[in-house]
Amino acid sequence: MLILGIESATSQVGVAVGGHEGVLASAHSARDRRHAENLTPQIRFVCEQARVELSEIGCVAVDIGPGLFTGLRVGIASAMAVAHGLGVPMIGVSSLDLGAFAVEHSRRLIVPCYDARRGEVFAAQYRSVPGGVQRVSEPTVATPDELAAELMAMSEDILMVGDGSERYRDVFGAISHIEFAGTSLQYPSARSLVELSHPKALREEFVAPNEIVPMYLRLPDAEINWKTRASA
């Protein structure tokens, strides 16, 4: 089955297409946050490069976050429209899963960490298991200092991946048992999305387009204020 993967959770926006032969074509861009402008042309481009007709796509995989809200939604809305338009099912994958998957062979505890802006990061912990990675903590949003304190208290070696760990390298780098995957893996990629979705597609772990739920991890400010006021 051919999978179209759409990914837009960070400053990067990307599209890949592939299936049992692996990823056939992909495109990523990370300049000037032109997610909405670039995404549809990228879909057309990767399909042309892979010599795949849109009608051959059997499923649309999308990064559901956590990530930067506006860009994230551009990817999710586009993916839902593509799936709805083609009448095919979807697979939702977390950006944190994609980050961990990019370093799946590490023996260290894997901590994908993305910049959430406003002095916070999105993060979770993963372990390498045969055939992939397994998440071992709940995805959270925290300040770099809070996350650093939590990781400092752990005795095992840690590998951090993602633009959040790069941006706050001064904070996390002070901890001796942390290593960094580096800037080449700082964004979740659409290639990983397609690879990671392929076994799910074989197991038919699909959802309908209207069942895709973005992982925000943070309430809208107004809702936070309203809840505080209501409980005060």
Binding site: P41, R44, A81, L86
Partner: protein, 336 residues
């Protein structure tokens, strides 16, 4: 008979997720609007992040419903038209992303529509043979504009608000009086039981060009209520509304005369206001012009007007590129 051309319209510029199918620019086959008013009411106004989240959830189901209600499938659609601005950027992007993705997978032209221009087309949905030129009074929560429409795509912006939009003044006065949200329909309803001449609020710049100013009116309502706490809310509401409508219609009427327009059209959410509608029709009869007030559902944000404007834009400009983005501060396409 020439072939019917079907446009799928998509609108997400503020707090309505909407899709519609319209034939030949005026024949509405479906017009689906999912309103978020209940979601935003507790915050006393539209919260952009809350609106964007709701748009993502509703967009695909709303499009699907518009197609089902119209009894058409993708092969029947000739183009997909979508609002690209102005509006809330996070909201606009949901519609634009969805419309472009559908346009790609269905292999249909994508048409970029200016939301303000689309409001003008709400009149053509019910009156396709509307005789031009007309003066259009476009009043909503975000805009107050007086426009001379000389032809399709031929507009002259005569004046606009220098501060608050008319709808914004309604919301602010309603909030001050503790009446709830949205202010327009609430004040409109209360005004029916009040005396419009109870308080003489100022009519700012009424004899002065075609621009508007409503922030002074809001302030004088606040000051008056502070000094006269015993005056009934219904009288305040009616007097405030009278002042707004007086200013709007005095200028619109003058514009119709000055430019020799055949009629006056209302557009935008505030055009659902009963007093504005009634007095527009009265004025039209008095002056021997055509008064056109679209049905209330066509005044507030909807996708049928996007499809109608999209049909004209498609024929005049052709399709837009798939790398088109959204522009939160897109200007009204006026040549003067």
């Amino acid at each position: 008979m020439t072939k019917r051309e079907l446009i799928l319209g998509i609108e997400t510029s503020c707090d309505e997720t909407a899709a519609a199918v319209v034939a030949n620019g005026h024949d509405v086959l479906s017009n689906v609007v999912s309103s978020q008013i209940d979601i935003h009411a507790r915050y006393g106004g539209v919260v952009p992040e809350v609106a964007s989240r709701a748009h993502v959830e509703m967009m695909t189901p709303v499009i699907a419903q518009a197609m089902v209600e119209a009894g058409v499938d993708k092969d029947d659609i000739d183009a997909i038209a979508c609002t690209v601005g102005p509006g809330l950027i996070g909201s606009l992007l949901i519609g634009v992303s969805s419309a472009k993705a559908l346009s790609l997978v269905w292999d249909k032209p994508f048409v970029a529509v200016n939301h303000l221009e689309a409001h003008l087309y709400s009149s053509f949905l019910e009156e396709p043979d509307l005789e031009l030129p007309v003066v259009v009074l476009l009043v909503s929560g975000g805009h107050t504009m007086l426009i001379l429409m000389e032809g399709h795509g031929q507009y002259r912006l005569l004046g606009e608000t220098l501060d608050d939009a008319a709808g914004e003044a309604y919301d602010k006065v309603a909030r001050y009086l503790g009446l709830g949200y949205p202010g327009g329909p609430i004040i409109d309803k209360m005004a029916m039981d009040g005396d419009p001449h109870a308080v003489k609020f100022p009519r700012a710049m009424v004899n002065d060009g075609y621009d508007f100013s409503f922030s002074g009116l809001k302030t004088s309502v606040v000051n008056y209520v502070r000094k006269n706490p015993d005056v009934a809310d219904v009288d305040i509401a009616a007097s405030f509304q009278e002042a707004v409508v007086d200013v709007l219609l005095t200028k619109a009427r003058r514009a119709v005369k000055e430019f020799g327009a055949t009629g006056l059209c209302l557009a935008g959410g505030v055009a659902a206001n009963s007093s504005l509608r009634e007095r527009t029709l009265d004025l039209a009869i008095e002056d021997g012009i055509k008064g056109f007030v679209p049905s209330r559902s066509m005044c507030t944000d909807n996708a049928a007007m996007i499809a109608a404007a999209g049909w004209w834009r498609f024929h005049s400009d052709g399709p837009a590129s798939l790398d088109h983005g959204a522009d939160s501060s897109l200007r009204f396409p006026s040549y003067a």
